[in-house]
Symmetry: C2
Subunit: 137 residues, 2 copies
């Protein structure tokens, strides 16, 4: 897991362009650091990026709840950050993570568990946990 | 390359949630269909999704130019769509593509060619083409 000093975090945030998405956000792709499987896409504001780099555990901004969203806070399915990449415009992050259990609340390892094929969304991955056993609220 | 009928395209668009991003857009991740390397993140409106599925070649919406953006129209670096995946909320697309030459205008295969490490953005990939030879305008 990566460790960053306060100076490194401040500098990183100053390099990012949060202006492209309403609410001063950057899109964040989480990807399995070993297989490169895409796990999810979410958004982060400055505070969420700061939290991610301070803790080494991915943190996002929930646009629906309008609050920081520590991925895994309820399920325990945390994402341990291994590498932090940026795109050419420095307005998108790619986190290569060690995903605990699964990224998706549906029970699938990746949120991208369906392919559009023959006119329908076909599930192409098996569940790795049962949501009803994990989300008790 | 995938082929879709008009009915399949209409149905797919009706399944997507364009309401989450200002301007009725969905984020689209392009990923190498063989290695799973993340190539880029862009946005698409309904028209861009329709164009992608009609042609089998990835099309986005340029928020800066406010127009459809056929990836590769200037460079010839088209993305041939192999698989179309959606996430759990049906508000994000993942295109698994055969990338011609490179995805990034910088000359790198992926737009994510830099990692934040030791307080700086370090380039972690070599260029695969020279932008000055490709973009003549």
């Amino acid at each position: 897991m990566k460790q960053y000093s306060k100076e490194e975090i401040d500098k990183f945030i100053s390099l990012l362009d949060f202006s492209k998405i309403e609410g001063n956000l950057v899109p964040v792709i989480a990807q399995d650091y070993q297989t490169n499987e895409c796990l999810m896409l979410a958004f982060a504001n400055e505070e969420a990026v700061r939290n991610s780099l301070e803790t080494g555990i991915a943190c996002y901004y929930s646009r629906s709840r309008k609050t920081l969203w520590k991925k895994g806070e309820e399920s325990g399915h945390f994402q341990e950050i291994q590498h932090v990449l940026v795109d050419c415009y420095v307005d998108t992050l790619l986190l290569k993570v060690k995903q605990n259990v699964a990224a998706c609340h549906s029970g699938h390892y990746s949120c991208f568990y369906r392919e559009y094929d023959d006119g329908e969304l076909k599930t192409i991955a098996k569940k790795v946990f049962s949501p009803e056993n994990v989300y008790k609220k």
